[in-house]
């Protein structure tokens, strides 16, 4: 699931709970689902590691190389 999909679902659940017309069981279920979605979104925010890579095509092969600011000279060499 995408982050925005989760957020959309969360919005719907919140609205439903705000109306307060659901029976108890369903309310609990929605609440739980909402909490899970929030957990999911929070996880999504943190799951990625900071990574900067440079995509290079050598012949027909695509390769990822680490990007280092200091070695930008080297990177540019790869480009040639």
């Amino acid at each position: 699931m995408k982050f925005e999909e989760a957020m959309e679902k969360l919005k719907k659940i919140t609205e439903q709970l705000e109306q307060g017309e659901l029976p108890l069981e369903e309310t609990l279920q929605k609440f739980e689902e909402g909490m899970k979605l929030i957990d999911f979104c929070e996880k999504k925010l943190d799951e990625t590691e900071k990574k900067i890579k440079v995509l290079i095509k050598e012949g027909e092969e695509l390769t990822l190389k680490d990007w280092k600011k200091e070695d930008s000279q080297e990177d540019s060499l790869i480009l040639e």
Binding site: E42, K53, W67, D75
Partner: protein
């Protein structure tokens, strides 16, 4: 020859006529003209100059709102290409070019190419809104097509890092300036599409001259952007720079930094948003549970639950009432039915005459017996009475008194009944009559009864 009938025009009439003539001539409207700038002056915010070549000279005016878009300085001797409309300024009786835009000649050629390509791609539908793909809200991987050396990559990385410290960024490097740049940009876009794991691509570079940015006006770049499966945000140069890639891309950002800001919301905002959502959900849940509790309490405190037996009692009573009503109506019904039945039988019996006759006879018999008995009884009673009175009479006779042991004394020989002691004296003779026989005796002693 001048005659009375000759029409004499006013200057204004002729000038107005010429004005209409010129300004309605299509060949003189929206035209490109090349020439060398002379007589340049700018007394107000508008620009006045002439364009000349060989032996001809054309007055030009560029109003301030157009002039502010010039990205070069006008000066005498500069060869430019200007676009505009020929018009006539009546107060000076002068036709002139009202300039819309202008470029130095070198750039002018490029600009013409730009305009042509823009027109071509527009016709092909490259700019149509239905080809625009919305950018993802939170890309998990971001592609960047730019030079590794330029200011753009640093700006983009800085903004991204500030907004979202943990992001995966894939740079697809390319030159962004020079003859090979357009091919490299196109290839870099294709490479990212082939790699396929990025959700959005920034294509751009920092500011520069019109020529510097021109790679982003090439057809090959436009096609690469148009064919990209991954959404692309174009960020070329500064605010005022507009390139073909801006038109083709799914979105346009004024600068590379702005593009970075556009594609990712600040992480902190999202974290806070989620925190708010969590609190909101908890709050709603708590509210909901509270309302349930309140309802429950209310229900519990309702008299029904407080004194359930009271209600039960009422029910019982009601039930009894029903039972009574049902059974009484039933009994009544049965009684009534039975009465009806007996009536029926009775009237049925009555209907037979023999039976009635017999009944009458029986009744007659009964009456006679009754009468007989009454008479017998009367006779007996009278006999009884008779013997009573005889006995009574008998008991009163002296004989029966004597029989009970009493005796009667008579004086002798007078034969008077002696009742008191002073009727006789000692020595006198008396006769005593008994039940059976009599005694003659002499009084021996008298005593007075006190």
């Amino acid at each position: 020859m001048l005659s009375v009938s000759t029409h004499i025009y006013t200057v204004d009439e002729i000038t107005s006529y010429l004005k209409v003539l010129i300004e309605n001539e299509e060949k003189l409207q929206d035209i490109w003209i090349r020439g060398e700038v002379s007589n340049f002056k700018s007394p107000s915010r508008h620009l006045y100059f002439s364009l000349k070549d060989g032996e001809s000279l054309l007055s030009c005016i560029m109003f301030q709102e157009k002039a502010q878009n010039l990205n070069f300085a006008l000066k005498n001797g500069l060869e430019i290409i200007a676009r505009g409309n020929i018009g006539l300024y009546k107060p000076q009786g002068r036709y002139q070019l009202y300039v819309e835009e202008a470029f130095p000649v070198g750039k002018g050629v490029l600009y013409l190419a730009f305009e042509q390509l823009k027109e071509e791609l527009k016709k092909k539908g490259y700019f149509d809104p239905q080809h625009k793909v919305p950018l993802p809200y939170l890309p998990s991987r971001i592609g960047v097509v730019t030079s590794l050396e330029g200011a753009a990559i640093r700006d983009i990385l800085t903004v991204l890092e500030k907004r979202f410290p943990n992001l995966e960024i894939i740079i697809s490097p390319c030159r962004v300036q020079g003859d090979e740049a357009s091919k490299e940009i196109a290839q870099a876009i294709k490479n990212l599409n082939q790699y396929g794991k990025v959700d959005v691509i920034i294509v751009g570079r920092g500011g520069g001259s019109f020529e510097d940015l021109f790679a982003f006006n090439e057809k090959i770049v436009a096609e690469a952007i148009y064919n990209s499966r991954i959404p692309i945000i174009s960020a070329v140069g500064h605010e005022i720079d507009v390139t073909i890639s801006d038109f083709v891309a799914d979105e346009r950002a004024p600068t590379p930094s702005a593009a970075a800001e556009r594609i990712i919301p600040p992480k902190q905002n999202l974290v806070e948003l989620l925190k708010e959502k969590r609190e909101k959900l908890c709050y709603l849940m708590e509210n909901y549970l509270n309302s349930l509790h309140t309802e429950l309490r209310k229900t519990k405190s309702s008299p029904f639950f407080k004194q359930p037996y009271r209600y039960l009692r009422d029910f019982k009573q009601e039930l009894d009432e029903f039972r009574r009503r049902i059974s009484s109506s039933f009994i009544q019904r049965v009684r009534w039915e039975r009465a009806q039945f007996l009536n029926l039988i009775h009237s049925f019996k009555q209907a037979f005459p023999q039976r009635r006759l017999k009944e009458m006879r029986e009744r007659l018999e009964r009456e006679r017996e009754k009468l007989q008995k009454a008479e017998e009884f009367k006779l007996k009673e009278e006999k009884k009475n008779l013997s009573f009175w005889r006995n009574r009479l008998l008991s009163l006779s002296p004989h029966s008194v004597l029989k009970r042991g009493y005796s009667i004394c008579f004086s002798y020989p007078e034969e008077k009944i002696i009742r008191e002691y002073n009727q006789v004296k000692e020595g006198e003779k008396i006769r005593v009559k008994l039940y059976k026989g009599k005694i003659y005796s002499k009084i021996y002693q008298i005593e007075e009864e006190k």
